[in-house]
């Protein structure tokens, strides 16, 4: 099976979506207009690289907040898996379940790996109008860190 992963590039309007953040809470991207949004797609809860990445993002959260930015993690895991993962790692930002239909939002952003059935590790910074200002696909197994996100937030016209 061929599978090309190509995250939507800068300049594209970010496709709207509604995903569950918990069993009783949904987040709609367009509801966040007016502030920058960071989308962090990652393959799976619990896998070592992802865990480091989310723990790192948790710790850098105050820096993201200085830009008024909302961080959203996204993986194909279910809300229950996310709940246990967030509790275990002390994550306080929403992690969204791209669970049903499986990987649909990841696919919309060009970052679904149809071979593995998971999202590729990729980052998007959206401006306050919901336009992608920066996107990045991390090499397999490499945690991308937060430097690219901070640089992209700094480069937004309002900051």
């Amino acid at each position: 099976m061929t599978n090309s992963i190509a995250p939507l590039p800068a300049g594209t309007t970010a496709p709207d979506f509604t995903l569950k953040a918990s069993s009783d809470k949904e987040i709609t991207l367009s509801g966040l207009r007016g502030q920058p949004v960071i989308l962090a797609f990652y393959p799976a809860d619990w896998s070592p690289t992802c865990s480091d990445q989310m723990a790192l993002f948790q710790q850098v959260l105050p820096e993201f907040e200085r830009f008024g930015a909302q961080l959203l993690g996204v993986s194909v895991d279910s809300v229950w898996c996310h709940k246990a993962f967030a509790a275990d790692r002390g994550l306080t930002f929403p992690i969204l379940a791209d669970f049903h239909p499986h990987g649909a939002v990841s696919d919309l952003y060009g970052t679904f790996n149809a071979e593995s059935g998971m999202a590729a590790r990729s980052l998007f910074v959206l401006d306050k109008d919901g336009v992608i200002a920066w996107s990045y696909l991390a090499p397999p197994g490499v945690n991308p860190g937060a430097d690219g996100i901070l640089a992209a937030l700094e480069a937004l016209p309002d900051s």
Partner: protein
Amino acid sequence: MSFSNESKLTLPVGDRDHGQGTPGSPITLVEYGDYECPHCIAAHSVVREIQRALGNDLFFVFRNFPLTTSHPHAQIAAEAAEAAGAQGRFWQMHDAILERNSSLSEDLLLELGNGVGLDPSALAQSLADGTFKERVREDFMSGVRSGVNGTPTFFVNERRYDGFADFDSLMDAIDAIKG
């Protein structure tokens, strides 16, 4: 090649750093580490081996990158090492923390501090006051801005190394840089 194309050390090595060897050596190896991270404990002996192999060609710098959500004692351990640094005993404390035989706690840090000749009550006071909190945060943020993505993260002559943290892999990467 096991180096990142994007991420480079944003805060150059300088006077504020704790280093071993001679500044300006052909190879400068910077480690961002967390004293409660098992991989950093493993990397400690790898760094030792690299220091032995490269001798005067290497300047080694350690900066703090405590990931406190996973490692609850990492921050206080970093502050204890910095407190030791302020008394000229950074490396003694650094080694003592990484070569400890039991799990980290404030009591253990005070005991290790005592072992390397720090005044226990002064150390306890600086930990209680958070005297070195800001300094550790500065290290941490310099790491974040340089693309540190977990611990340990190494930079070889300011380029982020993305390979495995074992001796052979790291030496291969260093050799490639030396040319």
